[in-house]
Amino acid sequence: MKFECGDLERALANPDLMADAQLHMRDCAACRNEYRIWNEISTAAKQLHCEWDSPDLWPNIRKGLEAQSQPPKHRADWRLWALTAAAAAMVLLAVLRWPQTPTDKSVATANLSAQDFLTDQALKEVEKNEAAYRHSIDELSRLAQPKLENPASSPLLASYREKLQMLDSAILETRSNIAQNRFNVRLQTDLADLYREKRQTLQEVLTRDQSN
């Protein structure tokens, strides 16, 4: 093959052609110059690596790791309190609506039934809402699928894909935990959070311009 100046770019992209390019550059000052600039970019790039002292970084990470190894007590606590308060309000509402009967015994029985009924009812409501929410997220997933599966997608989309995989795995795990304890309000809240995050992520994928 006769190597010409126009072949230099191909040689820079394909190391197999570099030997021919080197031979050509012996007699071609223009290509030698092009090649020099090409290499200078690599040399200058090495100087962009930057290091600085971060004396607090490892101690902070260590603290974070230690915090992660503890159960998220405070976070769970406020959620539990919020849900307990909401549940108490619903119990009160149900009790007020419950048909009044004259005897103490029947009132007590009615209250107990109302509480049982409310718990089941609330769970049914949660499960119904979850199914509807899941359905709408599935729809979003379906719309986002072509973008996410595009092999030429940007690293940002790849990061979305990875995040969605992590969310799916967390959702599966939480759902499996819920299957063993359907009345656990904290697990239900965690699941709702995960779905919310997934929906938001899918919406970001759909609104993102793929040209970048």
Binding site: Q47, E51, G64
Partner: protein, 183 residues
């Protein structure tokens, strides 16, 4: 439950030993990971986020995620590749948060070393590159990752990584040599 301190980690652990130690949640193994990768991670994150503070946040976030997910790490790729992938994702998470908050773009903390004008020009030109080309350029040319590693981080074939690097350098060369490009 406090983190185990991990007296089981040998002085010069292999990757497999380090991984097993991390999977046991031994803090010394994570400290070793930090020693091995933090400098490069900070530099890469800095170039993606243009802020040292955010770069440190991204590194910290990455270690938290690694700690949380290492039990599920399936060893389909090298541990380092997986860590860099999480780092890049963490950086994009931070960028997304910035977009959500409609934060003003942070001005790059340019080096003021006047002996290195090409370095400064290159740093500025990099900001104008296509996102994926810039990322490959940063990982290969600046941080010294191999194409095999980059392909694992970005989950693209090695050929794609090479092609993106070529495109990045071609665009940079054009920006740095042709006067019509204002850097």
């Amino acid at each position: 439950m406090p983190l185990p301190f991990g007296a089981t980690l040998p002085d010069n652990p292999t990757d497999a030993e380090l991984l097993q130690s991390c999977k046991r949640g031994e803090v010394c193994a994570f400290e070793r990971l930090y020693g091995l990768y933090a400098a490069r991670m900070k530099s890469l994150a800095y170039h993606l986020l243009a802020s040292r503070g955010d770069a440190e946040d991204a590194v910290q976030e990455t270690f938290m995620k690694v700690y949380k997910a290492i039990g599920a790490f399936e060893e389909n790729s090298a541990l380092s590749t997986w860590i860099y992938r999480i780092l890049v994702n963490s950086c994009y998470d931070i960028l997304r948060k910035r977009q959500r908050l409609a934060e003003k773009p942070i001005l790059k903390e340019f080096s003021m070393d006047s002996k290195l004008p090409l370095k400064v020009a290159l740093e500025r030109a990099l900001l104008k590159l296509n996102e994926r080309h810039r990322l490959v350029f940063l990982m290969f040319e600046v941080e010294g990752l191999k194409h095999s590693e980059i392909s694992g981080v970005l989950e693209v074939p090695e050929g794609t990584s090479r092609a993106w690097l070529f495109e990045a350098k071609r665009a940079l060369k054009q920006m740095l040599t042709e006067p019509r490009h204002e850097i």
